[in-house]
Symmetry: C2
DNA sequence: TACGCGTACGTTAACGTTAACGTATTTCGC
DNA sequence: GCGAAATACGTTAACGTTAACGTACGCGTA
C-alpha cells in the first residue's frame, strides 16, 4: 500500500511538472497533497499546521512528519479557502482620493507599519473625488471580504456596513471613528505666532472644497482670529481649487493674491504644498521671504524643511495618524476595544525660516 | 407556498436585523438568499447574474425578476468564494521597499490607474530592505492568490513562481520583465549637459547599495564619462548610505564632499532627494547654486521644480513606468501577450536653474 | 404516437479549508 | 479483567460560488 501510495504520488508530481510550463497554478500544493504524502487526511494535517485544540492528541512524531512534509513540498495555505471557511480575511480596505501625494502616502506608511505588525494586509483604492466611484469601490472591497475601512481625506456620509476609521474625516457619522487634528489648537498656535511677530495683515489660502479638513479648519481659524483680534479681510482670502498634489497647486493662487494689490505681510496657507507654490509666486514677483512676506504652511510634509526658505508650518503627525487609525481599527475589529467616535491629535508649530517679524523688509 | 416563502423570508430578515448589531457579517446576502427570494436555485441566479452561456435559455421575465431581487436585497457576490471556484482573484501584489517615498508612490499611482481600468486590485507590501521579509511576503501574497507581482526598486534573485514585472529591476532573471531606464542615455544627456557648460571637476553621489538602480547607473556613468573625456576623481565620489526617503538623505554627504577640500564646480546626484539635501549643505556653507556649484538630480520628482533653485534633473517618467509595468503584467497574465525580458524607458533632461556655465561664480 | 428538440430550470460536485463530531485502539485504575 | 478515559486519527459538512450535466415539460413534425 505504501508502494502504491508512493507511485500514485510520483505520477501526480510528474504530471504537475509537465504542466507547470503552461499553468503556474499547477504547482501549488494543497493540504490534501501534503496529507497524501504522509498518508493521513487533510483534517489531521490542518489541525497540526494550525496547532488547533484538536491537535493536542497528535503525537510529536506524527506532528514532525507533517511539518517536514509541508516544508518539503513547500505547502502554502490557500488563504481564499481558509477565509471562506473561517469568515475572516485579515484584510482591510484603504480608501483615498489619489495615490502618490505626500499627505496620503505618509498616512498610508503609518497604516502599513501597524498592519504588518499584526499580520493584516490591505487593498488600496483611489476614488479621485468621485462620489459614485467611492460607493462602487466600497462595495467591491466588501465583496472581497475586507473587515474594515480606513479612509484618508475622504468624507463619508452614509453609515458604513463595516468598522470604519476616517483620517481627517469630519462628518460625524455613527460607526465611524474620526482621527482629527485639534484644529482650534492649530489655528491658535499659527495665528499667535504670526500675531506675536507683529503681523496684522494676514492673507489666507483656504482649502479646496473636496478636502475634508477645509471647512473645519477654516471655521477654527475664524473663531480664533476673532478671539485674538486678528482681522480676516475677505480681499486677502483666496480659495484653492484643483486637485493637483504638487506645489503647482498654490502657485496661481499666490499670484492671484498679489494681483489684488491689497498689502499683506504674512500668509497662512492651507497646506505645505500650496504654501511652497505660493512662495514661488511671491519670490518670482520680487518679494523676499520672510522679509517681505512671512509664510506659514500646514502638515509638515517631508519637503517642508527643504523648501527655501525652510517652511514654518503646523505639523500634523501624519505617519502617527496612520498608525493610530490602523491600531484603532484593528482593535475594534478584533473586539479588543469599543467603538469610539473621535480620536484627537495635537498639532505642533514648527518654526523655521519662512516667518520673521513684520516690517522686517522695510528697514 | 408563496405565502410560506414570504413568511420564511421575513423571519430570516428580521432575524438578521436583530443580529446586525453584534455581527456585521450577518447582513450580507448570499446567492442562495437571492435565490430563495425569487423561488429559484442558486445555480440559476448565478447564471443570470454573470450572464453565462447557460443563461441563454432563461426567459427575459425571469431574468428581470432575478436582477430586481439582487438589487433590492443589495446582493454583493462574495469574491472569496468566486475566486476559490474559478481560480482567479484579479489581484496582484505590489512589492516595494518602503511606502511613502516620492519615487515609489508615483510609480504606484501609475500602477493603480491601469489596474482600476481593468478591474484589478492590488495588495501592497513593504519589505524594508530585508531579504527574508521579501521572501515571506511573496509567499503570503501567493497564499492570498495574487496572479502576479510588480516589484519597485527591489532586486529579485530567484525565478518567481508567478508572472513578475520589476520596475527598476536589473538582475536578469528568467520570467521577470524588467522595466528599466536607459541608463546610458541618462548618463549621456547629464554629462553632456555639464560638459558643454564647461564643467570638468564634477562630483558624484553614488546610490545606496540597496537601491537596485545604483550599480547599473554608476557603470553607465563611468562608461560615458570615459567616452566624453570626463574625469571621475575618486576624491569627488561619495557613496550614499541610509534608507531615508527625504532630502535629509543627501545632506550629510553634501557636507562630506565639501569637507574633502577638493574643488569641484558641479554635482551629479543619484536622485533628486539627495540632490536637494546636498544643495542645502552647499548653501549653508555659503556656496551659491548654480554660480559656485551646478547640481543635476535624477528622477524629476514632484518637488524638483520647487526646489530653490529649481532643480535641473534627468527625468524618469515614474508614473508612466508604473502604467507600463501594470499593462505588461496584466497582458501577460491574461495571455494577451508573451513574456518579454525588458522594456526600455527613455530618460529626458529637464534643464532648470540649478545648472549654469562653470566659473560663473568667479566673476 | 413516437420522436426529437428547445425551453426552463434543478442537481451535483468541486475549489481548499477547518470545526465538530465519530470511531477504533491502547492504557490505566481498581 | 472490566469499564472508563485517553490517544490517534478519520469523516462529514459547511463557507459561497460556478461549470457541467440532468430532467421535465411542451411543441412540432413525420
Amino acid at each position: 500500500m505504501c508502494f502504491l501510495a508512493l507511485r500514485f504520488e510520483s505520477t501526480i508530481l510528474s504530471g504537475k511538472k509537465l504542466k507547470r510550463e503552461k499553468n503556474p497554478k499547477e504547482n501549488i500544493v494543497t493540504l490534501k497533497e501534503v496529507a497524501n504524502h504522509v498518508g493521513l487526511t487533510a483534517g489531521t494535517v490542518s489541525a497540526v499546521l494550525n496547532n488547533s485544540a484538536a491537535s493536542r492528541s497528535i503525537p510529536e512524531s506524527t506532528r514532525q512528519r507533517i511539518l517536514a512534509a509541508a516544508r518539503e513540498l513547500n505547502y502554502r495555505p490557500n488563504m481564499l479557502a481558509r477565509s471562506l471557511r473561517v469568515q475572516r480575511t485579515y484584510t482591510i480596505g484603504v480608501i483615498l482620493q489619489e495615490i502618490g501625494d505626500a499627505y496620503g502616502s505618509t498616512v498610508v506608511s503609518g497604516i502599513e507599519e501597524v498592519l504588518s505588525e499584526r499580520d493584516f494586509f490591505f487593498l488600496t483604492v483611489a476614488h479621485r473625488h468621485d462620489k459614485r466611484l467611492l460607493r462602487t469601490y466600497s462595495d467591491l472591497l466588501i465583496s472581497r471580504g475586507v473587515e474594515g475601512f480606513i479612509t484618508v481625506d475622504t468624507s463619508i456620509s452614509e453609515k458604513p456596513v463595516l468598522p470604519t476609521v476616517a483620517v481627517a474625516g469630519h462628518k460625524y457619522v455613527s460607526d465611524v471613528t474620526n482621527i482629527t487634528l485639534d484644529h482650534r489648537k492649530a489655528a491658535e498656535i499659527a495665528l499667535h505666532h504670526l500675531k506675536s511677530l507683529g503681523h496684522d495683515r494676514i492673507a489666507f489660502l483656504k482649502g479646496q472644497m473636496e478636502s475634508s479638513d477645509s471647512v473645519v479648519r477654516w471655521e477654527a481659524i475664524c473663531a480664533v482670529a476673532q478671539e485674538l483680534n486678528v482681522i480676516i479681510r475677505p480681499e486677502l482670502v483666496v480659495q484653492l481649487e484643483g486637485k493637483d498634489s504638487t506645489p503647482e497647486l498654490g502657485y496661481p493662487f499666490g499670484k492671484q493674491l498679489l494681483s489684488r494689490n491689497v498689502p499683506f505681510t504674512a500668509l497662512f496657507a492651507y497646506n505645505d504644498i500650496s504654501a511652497i507654490g505660493a512662495m514661488r509666486a511671491f519670490q518670482e514677483a520680487g518679494k523676499r521671504i520672510p522679509e517681505d512676506i512671512s509664510v506659514v504652511g500646514f502638515d509638515d510634509i517631508n519637503f517642508a524643511s527643504f523648501a527655501r526658505p525652510a517652511l514654518t508650518t503646523v505639523r500634523q503627525p501624519l505617519k502617527k495618524m496612520g498608525r493610530i487609525a490602523a491600531k484603532a481599527l484593528l482593535d475594534w475589529i478584533e473586539g479588543r476595544s469599543e467603538y469610539m467616535p473621535e480620536i484627537a491629535i495635537e498639532p505642533e508649530l514648527v518654526i523655521r525660516n519662512s516667518t520673521s517679524p513684520a516690517g522686517y523688509g522695510k528697514s
